[in-house]
């Protein structure tokens, strides 16, 4: 059997991350505004529309990066919960099912097929939010693997929708921390 995983305590708190995102967005907006001291030099010869277009491109990239980070935080939270329930040998039905998976896969359990699937089956009220999370993780995979294909996601995702869903999930599930 593999050794227990040591938790890093560097897992992302999405509320703190939201403040980081706000600062990044405001910084970018200031950088691209004529109030910035570097504006005249940086955008010499630009048409105003071109400045706006470049800023929108940067903001879109920021949104993708932040959505990826927030979804990674959600995955981390579910994985920490899975491991803690197994390490502490908790006795509720979900912990027992997760321990059966742990026997086979240890810290290599699959997020959707193993962990989220158990939650979906044994937690009342969870099926819709798990369905939404699984959809969002498809978007995460698309971001994480280079966005080189046209994804079939069924919905539009961006930082706002991903953050709201993630915060709702983390507030709703009784997840164990590190």
């Amino acid at each position: 059997m593999r050794d227990r995983l040591r938790f890093s305590n560097q897992n992302v708190d999405i509320q703190s991350y939201a403040l980081h995102h706000q600062d990044m967005e405001q910084s970018l907006r200031l950088y691209f505004s004529s109030d910035a001291s570097s504006f005249d030099l940086r955008f010499a010869g630009y048409q105003p529309d071109k400045v706006r277009e470049e800023m929108d491109t940067r903001l879109n990239e920021l949104e993708f990066a932040s959505a990826l980070t927030v979804l990674a935080a959600v995955e981390g939270a579910f994985r920490i919960d899975y491991l803690q329930r197994c390490y502490r040998r908790e006795r509720d039905p979900i912990s027992k099912k997760l321990r059966a998976i742990y026997k086979e896969r240890q810290d290599r359990a699959r997020l959707e097929e193993d962990i989220l699937n158990i939650w979906k089956q044994y937690a009342n009220g969870s099926s819709r939010i798990i369905g939404d999370l699984i959809g969002a993780f498809k978007f995460r995979d698309w971001l994480a693997h280079g966005r080189y294909w046209v994804p079939k996601l069924g919905r539009k995702y961006d930082y706002l929708t991903i953050y709201a869903l993630s915060a709702r999930a983390l507030d709703s599930f009784p997840l164990r921390g590190p």
Binding site: S33, A123, G125, R128, I129, L153, A164, S172
Partner: protein, 185 residues
């Protein structure tokens, strides 16, 4: 060989069809409802700004805007442009297939962007927690999740993360948005 290929292709074509007439009609209905709510939002905005439009200090324009959504395909909507002197603010519809809302319009100014969402009139936040309980064996199985009630959809302003709280959309809050996205505060 050719026959087998055709069979595969036939299956492929079949899989791409809407599962039933009802399903297709639902998507069209969903699109039309969303566009109806959008029209209602624009009418509200026009009412908010009427005195300024009437005296010529604000100009409202519409621009054709194509939205592509997986379930519906491409359809036309409109961007509303609000011109206040040198400031230009665009109300840009995003779509209706979104998590946490029935539709969204982004309000884009020179300094910032705000978001209007079409949500349940009773909801207070996009992140409201739901009650999730671990099932215990032997306990009677709880009833299945309720189907969504007949929701009274309404437009709200949603604040940025981490709060993602809903604020009422009225003349005063809309004016505040216009000033915020134009960096006029």
């Amino acid at each position: 060989m050719a026959k087998a290929k055709n069979t595969d292709f036939d299956e492929f074509v079949k899989r791409q069809q809407p599962r039933s007439e009802a399903e297709r009609v639902d998507w069209n209905k969903r699109r039309d409802e969303w566009l109806g709510h959008l029209k209602q939002l624009y009418a509200e905005v026009e009412a908010f700004l009427k005195e300024y439009v009437d005296n010529g200090s604000i100009i409202l324009e519409r621009k054709k805007h194509r939205i592509i959504e997986e379930n519906i395909g491409a359809y036309d909507s409109e961007i509303m442009i609000i011109r206040i002197g040198r400031q230009e603010i665009a109300l840009r519809p995003v779509g209706t297939f979104l998590i946490g809302s029935r539709g969204r319009v982004d309000v884009e100014g020179s300094a910032d962007r705000a978001k209007l969402v079409l949500v349940d009139k009773d909801a207070t936040s996009m992140r409201s927690a739901i009650k999730i309980r671990i099932l215990v064996p032997g306990e009677p199985h709880p009833p299945a999740e309720k189907a969504p009630k007949d929701i009274d959809w309404t437009w709200r302003i949603v604040t940025s993360p981490p709060e993602v709280a809903f604020k009422e959309l009225n003349k005063e809050s809309f004016f505040q948005i216009l000033m915020a996205v134009s960096n006029a505060r």
